[in-house]
Symmetry: C2
Subunit: 415 residues, 2 copies
């Protein structure tokens, strides 16, 4: 686009930002009155920038400039925030299509690798917010990962339970088996596995708040003998188990640690074991938004499938099943965001308006990313080379009787 | 193992071979009477080597030496051939576990890259054997790829039909849609899609024999207006289609051509399209056996999942679903091998005993590989970034009504 030189510096800056993000159908306005939008399509929303300082910050670093500006109110979005973010993500996607993809994104990880100490700090940053805060907008069991909606109208509460059952069925848990869980959140899955599938669980998590919460719940529900919640790094899992499971933790591992994770899994379940990883991924390797890494998830990385294979290949783990639940994460986030919006006054009172707007942007941006497809949600079921518990088909996942052991479906690998 | 120097050179050679393949529970015998086996476990079979020439060939190149020796009868296996091969594959697997995996196996491909001319020669080598030969041991529709057995007792005929339905359901074909098929074998899937799902198919294959056969079948069944069988390289697919499907063809593409295949798929179905690849793969990158490449499938390569991602990443294709059907290929091969054994006299009469034994070893070795897990069978369902036909869940694959359109399950990506 040719920019006539008589335009103001604000206008030229707005045009440059618009161009850099691929001309999405958005109006960019400066509070003084200047406004630009791409020709052709009607803008879905207006981004209002309050002052030159904010404009400069966006020129220097669009992601952090926009994100921090939105958080402190110096950037406002008039119209649908989610629709505006979808428009941006979609136009950025178009810019990069067909290009070479990065061999891997380990460089970003090397800048700040997740050592045990850093992992502890990173987890503390996000997960040690009081559970009162998460209770405002999560389901009653505080399951803070993608739910599974058998139909789009399933409630969030039901969908989180369905997700836990879906995972237990994929793992084909049998009474008496032992499970190692890396990253347990507030403990819902570990308790669900123990209660409804009769397994014993040893679960690891670096968050002190979450560990205290989960232990109290285990005690209250009489499950402390079957479920052990340990406040420690997943790398310190020791002992031998039948099954390894990790839901929403791989995002915090970092791209340069997948081979180590694979060795840990092998050490934990051996060649006859099996497991499941549930994580946010991507269609191709790329770093998370700089703003998300700065304000929401320090040290986080959402891998492409190719990158995760580094965990499995050296030990001959077979990928048995990969399911992409992207649409289910969009649906989950619709529920979370709607609940969050209803509680945003309480969040502001609990903290301040900057934190309240930061988390709104994070939830809205995540919803937009899953709708557009810049984020995917993968569940990988895997088995060691000597595993004898490979299901014959996946039909048992969809049979009407829930939580029934499909013993007759099992097959030994060697006939 | 310490080898006392007074042993004969034959015995020392046999011990060396046994050691090189990781001491599987096999007895290696020289026809003159020398025999060795590893201590501890009872041998599952005896490998009898006729003469020094054969022994030398096995020392020089174990895979080709054994394979060619078996084919011409200078190596005999006393006992269960499949069990013997399973023992070898299992012990070789143990040798390599935990090691670094190759970054990729493109080097092997570069030695003899699949140019269109070479692909034509490679396909001719295998698929231009008269269909009379394949009719001896395949199902009546001549489906020469892994079947899908809803239960282990499903017949081969039923399982091949179930496989085609499984693929059509994964693709969610609708009447009137267009499908490009890369590699059509004897035409069964193309005809099945057109007949039972109402789509129009343009299918490509380099084999002259197969094309003649498939065209005749399309004419005989009155489907020539809906299914076009083209004797040409998959790289020459032109035009725009809703769906791309390829079953048992990726193995012939070669590791250095996956990015080109991805570009072809993008050109064929665009950002809104979808498709499925069904192929033999591995847990980690490794070349095929030298004997298989020499005698059975010149130019073939069975990739690890990581390698295949090169086709999808540059165009932002999403992996929607990966299913591993390894156990189903073992079952398919049990059927094929049993039928083949019943017909081996006819094969010898049709060709000669060397070809008959070559193909027995290839089928038995493939069965052993799928049982042990050195081979996997992957079905990858993928969708372009603007695809609006992503199924909400996979439940429709397992609903009792077959071939029913699950319209109500479809969802638009953008709500």
């Amino acid at each position: 686009m040719r920019i006539p030189i008589h335009h103001s510096v604000e206008r030229r800056s707005l045009l440059k930002i618009l161009s850099a993000i691929g001309q999405p159908p958005l109006r960019f306005a400066f509070r003084s009155g200047e406004a630009v939008s791409p020709p052709g399509s009607a803008p879905v929303a207006t981004i209002v920038i309050r002052d030159r300082t904010t404009l400069l910050r966006m020129m220097l670093n669009p992601e952090i400039g926009f994100g921090d500006g939105y958080a402190d109110g110096s950037v406002e979005v008039e119209g649908d925030l989610v629709a505006a973010l979808e428009a941006v993500y979609r136009s950025i996607l178009m810019l990069t299509r067909g290009g070479r993809t990065a061999a891997a994104s380990k460089w970003i990880d090397r800048l700040r690798s997740n050592t045990p100490q850093r992992s502890r700090e990173n987890v503390h940053h996000h997960y040690d917010l009081k559970s009162d805060f998460y209770e405002l907008w999560l389901d009653p069991q505080l399951v803070y990962t993608c739910a599974y909606f058998p139909t789009p109208t399933t409630t969030l509460e039901e969908a989180q339970i369905a997700k836990m059952d879906h995972i237990c069925r994929k793992l084909q848990l049998r009474p008496g088996e032992t499970v190692a869980e890396a990253g347990f959140g507030w403990g819902a899955l570990a308790l669900h596995m123990a209660k409804h599938y009769g397994v014993r669980v040893k679960a690891f998590n670096l968050s002190h708040e979450q560990t205290v919460f989960a232990r109290r719940r285990a005690r209250d529900e009489g499950m402390a003998g079957q479920v052990e919640f340990i406040e420690d790094d997943y790398r310190n899992i020791s002992g031998r188990f039948d099954v390894f499971v990790s839901v929403g933790m791989l995002e915090h591992v970092g791209a340069s640690h997948y081979a180590d994770l694979g060795s840990l899994i092998h050490r934990t379940v051996g060649a006859s074991g099996r497991g499941l990883l549930h994580f946010i991924g991507r269609n191709r390797p790329a770093p998370l938004s700089a703003w998300i890494r700065k304000r929401i998830f320090p040290g986080a990385y959402t891998p492409a499938l190719r990158e995760v294979m580094e965990a499995f290949e050296p030990w001959d783990f077979s990928v048995c099943d990969i399911e992409n639940l992207r649409l289910h994460y969009a649906k989950t986030l619709e529920h979370w965001l709607a609940r969050y919006e209803r509680s945003i006054g309480q969040v502001s009172a609990m903290f301040d308006s900057t934190l309240a707007r930061t988390w709104r942007l994070y939830l809205a941006g995540s919803l937009a990313a899953f709708r557009v497809g810049t984020m995917q949600l993968f569940q990988i079921t895997f088995a060691g080379p000597e595993c004898e518990r490979i299901p014959w088909t996946r039909a048992h996942l969809y049979s009407p009787e829930r939580r029934q052991e499909p013993e007759q479906q099992w097959t030994r690998m060697m006939s």
